[in-house]
């Protein structure tokens, strides 16, 4: 197992390099001149040229890439010109907020989605299945930002149960209960779509598994139906569900953009959108690389979990 994890980690290196190439190329395609963007349109040509040289933009593209990559590997993501601070500091400051939000949403979507899918499949075409299917269709069709806004209207404005925005209260607060109160609505709003997707695919995977011969064997042994469903069938279905969870982890992490804006959550997503609107290229580059690297990490976790779960996979 340890060897397999190592092998999987090593195989992630070319993917990560590929990601940096794609991000770099996308950003290099931006029309216009970053130096002009920084200095404004009244800058003199000499100043623009000097800044270009200072930023290394007069080098050929491939050299720019390797310089950028080299800095990246040393933890230097460059400097955000709009915020005038190192990109990495800015990202790290905000990343924990995003991780708390996305991590909670992911847990919600994994647990609730799988449970709903299993209950749905076990009672196929029954009342529970119909109710879950209906809720799931609603869930995967609602834009998360609209759902978030409606939740604010209902739970923050009308009922006054939960705070409408931010991560901590300004006065007092700052402790865990305060965080949970602020986290509840954004996490649920972010989790809804992913939960629907997980529920849907879990139901399908369970239906496939429940028709297998080994389920009949378990029943013939006298295993209780509850254990047949939640043990034998779910264990086998997990092999198909886990890759979906990996995809949803990435979805939740990047889908946090909308929720962070609606609930004014101080995360990376909001920072990215602002950076895009301000054309703060190094900040966008850094944010995208880091989120994509996380996503690659999720995929490794998925593969390792898969290998741990299914002994037939050669490790």
């Amino acid at each position: 197992m340890g060897g397999y994890i190592l092998k999987r980690l090593l195989s992630a290196i070319p993917v990560l390099l590929g990601i940096t190439v794609i991000v770099f190329l996308i950003m290099a395609m931006i029309p216009g001149d970053p130096a002009t963007a920084i200095l404004g349109s009244y800058a003199t040509p000499e100043n623009v040229a000097r800044l270009n040289r200072f930023l290394g933009l007069d080098e050929p593209l491939w050299r720019q890439y390797f310089i950028w990559l080299g800095n990246l590997l040393q933890g230097d993501f460059g400097r955000s010109f709009a915020l005038n601070r190192p990109v990495l500091d800015e990202i790290l400051d905000r990343f924990s907020a995003t991780l708390i939000l996305a991590g909670t949403a992911f847990l919600l979507c994994a647990v609730l989605g799988i449970m709903a899918g299993v209950i749905s499949a076990a009672g196929q075409y029954g009342p529970a299945d119909k109710a879950i299917t209906f809720v799931v269709i609603l869930g995967i069709s609602v834009p998360s930002f609209f759902l978030g806004m409606m939740m604010i209207l209902l739970f923050a404005v009308q009922l006054r149960w939960l705070p409408a925005s931010g991560m901590y209260s300004i006065w007092g607060g700052g402790d865990l209960p305060d965080l949970i109160r602020h986290l509840t609505m954004p996490a649920i709003a972010l989790a809804v779509v992913a939960t629907g997707v997980v529920a849907r695919l879990s139901r399908g995977a369970m239906l496939e598994v429940l028709r297998q011969d080994f389920i009949r064997t378990a029943r013939a042994k006298g295993v209780h139906e509850r254990r047949v469903i939640w043990g034998h069938a779910l264990r086998a279905a997990m092999v198909g569900i886990i890759p979906v969870l990996g995809i949803q982890a990435g979805f939740v992490l990047s889908g946090a953009v909308y929720i962070e804006i609606v609930f004014q959550w101080p995360g990376v997503g909001r920072m990215l959108v602002d950076a895009i609107l301000r054309r703060d290229i190094l900040l966008v580059q850094g944010g995208v690389v880091i989120i994509a690297a996380c996503y690659v990490g999720f995929n490794i976790v998925v593969d390792v979990a898969q290998a741990w779960l299914d002994p037939r996979i050669k490790t």
Partner: protein, 620 residues
């Protein structure tokens, strides 16, 4: 096509989706003709009018613009962008997928590496990055959404194309001298169109959502032009003071995406042949029972199957898989149940403990008595407590019947512990002992092996050990040796026979092989078309078969050292049990059939030997 539409509308939700989407699309198409305010006409005096106010059905927004008008124009825009993005992504993805799949080799490798790399990005992030390059704007958002969805299509289509590219008709076209372009257009593309349609119909909802999302962030449509997403984005600042400005566009997005999703699901289901046949139904914990009368108890056999009727009900069709079958089994006895595939022998065996997959299986009549207790219609908990403890099963293919992800030891331990509250350690000891009993070498080590690590014969021994776990009275063995090669088969049979002698087991042995019956069974019952056609002591039946079908079946068995006998296959096919002929089901394949064989009900007659035939080979 009409079948497709019928299936689509049988799905009520899909029909609902189609109607809602139809209305929305119609409204969007008619928008320029409707008597609406101009969507961008501002009126500062009329800011934030509530819905149902004079002249403004849905109220006005922060600039006093008519919301209904803006909603319809925005819907038009959102729909157009969503469909366009789906079309672009679908076509580009299909083109890439077809090329990669058809040409294979290096083209395939390079393309798919690139696709994998793109898929390493969460797509919202990639869309953001693309918009960052192109700059905000609706067209740029459309391009971004289309591009991030290309990998999904390319992957799907490539998979399908690879399947097609190696088929015979492609080779034939190539040999006929057709060029690549022509083969692609005339042979490959028509075959992948349904896949593209399904993929588009299931993703178009996503694309509408994604474009709305980009617009919501201010990266899509720019003012004063507004799609539904940017309407929501602009309304957000007035969420609390004028919630209707947010609710109106939000509900519209929800309605559009939901109806597209419902319709997409409906299209996918209608095109999926497995759903048509009901093959995706999951079997319930016990077979459904729907029987009108219960035959009176009689006899004192250990297991008494009495006039059992089991059917498969698929739509309007009824397959009478088991048709009034009666069998009995005494302690320590081995009864062989023999017949071709489809004769109903396995269904008979599975009916005993309610293990016939249901839906579509239904037990519609008869009784199965274990020591006088009727198991048909018994409460689930009663049935479960008897399964494995008094009546155990051995199934045909031990690779698919053992759980692939559990160690065989754990599967044995579970079999013991569901019926007996012994400790884990005690159960483990007994599991090792069971493996030794079925002559598995190195049982203590093998106990922690997974099924895929064992050979077929070893796996079947595990299956037998599992059946023996609770010292049952009856073992029902459903073709336990069919999947094994001949030498292993002989070992397994010898093992079963020895266990029977030693433990006094009664065995119901199901097979299609008279050779196996001859070795193991005291009595034999022959099944054809869901009925017993002959039964009697094995020796007597083998020596002098009474039913013409039995005679033909015995003639099929090759005998060692009797190489000059002609192996006679039985011409024709067994009958389909949803349309059984009147009279004898074997009559159409029987060389002795008379006109009288094809009318009326033919009874099973005789005493120790019974036969269902008007012109038996020997008097029973």
């Amino acid at each position: 096509m009409s079948l497709f539409l019928r299936l689509l509308f049988r799905n009520r939700l899909a029909g609902f989706g189609a109607v809602v989407l139809g209305v929305i699309v119609l409204l969007a198409l008619l928008t320029p003709l409707l008597p609406l305010h101009p969507p961008n006409e501002t009126s500062t005096a009329n800011r934030y009018l509530r819905p149902l106010s004079d002249g403004h059905l849905l109220g006005t927004d922060h600039l006093g613009r008519d919301l209904l008008s803006r909603l319809l124009w925005g819907t038009r825009l959102s729909l157009a962008v969503g469909f366009a993005a789906a079309l672009i992504a679908g076509l580009a993805g299909a083109a890439i997928g077809v090329m990669a799949g058809y040409f294979g080799g290096r083209t395939d490798n390079v393309t798919m590496r690139g696709i994998d790399m793109l898929m390493a990005f969460p797509y919202i992030l990639l869309a953001l990055a693309i918009v960052a390059v192109l700059g905000p704007g609706l067209l740029n958002a459309l391009i971004a959404v289309a591009v991030v969805n290309i990998p999904f299509f390319a992957r799907n289509i490539r998979g399908v194309t690879v399947g097609i590219a190696h088929r015979e008709f492609i080779d034939a076209a190539r040999l006929a001298g057709m060029g690549h372009a022509r083969i692609l257009l005339t042979e490959v593309v028509p075959n992948i169109v349904p896949v593209v349609v399904i993929a588009m119909s299931t993703t178009i909802g996503w694309m509408i959502l994604e474009t709305a999302g980009l617009s919501f962030l201010g990266l899509g449509s720019q003012p004063p032009q507004a799609d539904l997403g940017s309407m929501l984005g602009e309304a957000r600042s007035a969420l609390i003071t004028a919630p209707h400005t947010s609710i109106v566009p939000g509900v519209m997005i929800l309605l559009i995406v939901m109806s597209v999703n419902l319709l997409g699901d409906g299209i996918r289901d209608a095109l999926d042949p497995r759903l048509r046949s009901g093959a995706l139904a999951r079997p319930m914990a016990a077979t459904r029972v729907d029987r009108r009368e219960v035959p009176p108890a009689k006899g004192e056999a250990l297991l008494d199957i009495d006039a059992l009727e089991t059917q498969f009900q698929v739509g309007k069709r009824v397959y009478k898989a088991v048709n009034k079958v009666s069998l009995d089994l005494k302690p320590g006895e081995c009864l062989g149940l023999i017949g071709e595939s489809g004769s109903g022998k396995s269904v008979t065996a599975l009916s005993v403990m309610g293990l016939v997959a249901s839906p579509p299986g239904v037990i519609t009549g008869g009784a199965v008595r274990l020591d006088g207790q009727d198991l048909i219609g018994a409460p689930y908990e009663v049935l479960r407590a008897l399964r494995g403890r008094r009546v155990a099963y051995i199934f045909q293919d031990p690779l698919s019947t053992l759980h692939p992800l559990y160690r065989i030891g754990d599967q044995l331990i579970e079999a013991i512990r569901v019926h007996e509250p012994v400790s884990q350690a005690e159960a483990h000891k007994r599991a090792v002992k069971l493996l030794e009993d079925v002559q598995i070498p190195n049982a203590a080590g093998r106990v922690s092996a997974f099924p895929h690590e064992l050979s077929g014969g070893m796996r079947q021994r595990v299956g037998i050990a599992m059946a023996l776990a609770n010292d049952p009275d009856i073992i029902i063995a459903d073709e336990p040796t069919t999947a094994l090669d001949v030498t292993v088969q002989a070992q397994i049979l010898a093992l079963l026979d020895e266990l029977r002698q030693r433990r006094g087991l009664a065995i119901l042995f199901i097979t299609h092989d008279f050779g196996v019956v001859g070795q193991l069974c005291d009595r034999v019952a022959v099944m054809y078309g869901g009925r017993i056609v002959e039964t009697g002591p094995t020796r007597a039946v083998l020596d002098a078969p009474a039913h013409p079908y039995t005679r033909r079946l015995i003639a099929c068995v090759p005998e060692l050292g009797a190489g000059r006998r002609i192996l006679a296959a039985i011409p024709g096919l067994p009958p389909a049990v949803d349309q059984l002929p009147e009279g004898c089901a074997f009559a159409p394949r029987c060389d002795k059939a008379q006109a009288s064989c094809k009318t009326g009900e033919i009874d099973l007659t005789g005493t120790t030997r019974k036969v269902r035939c008007l012109f038996p080979e020997v008097a029973p």
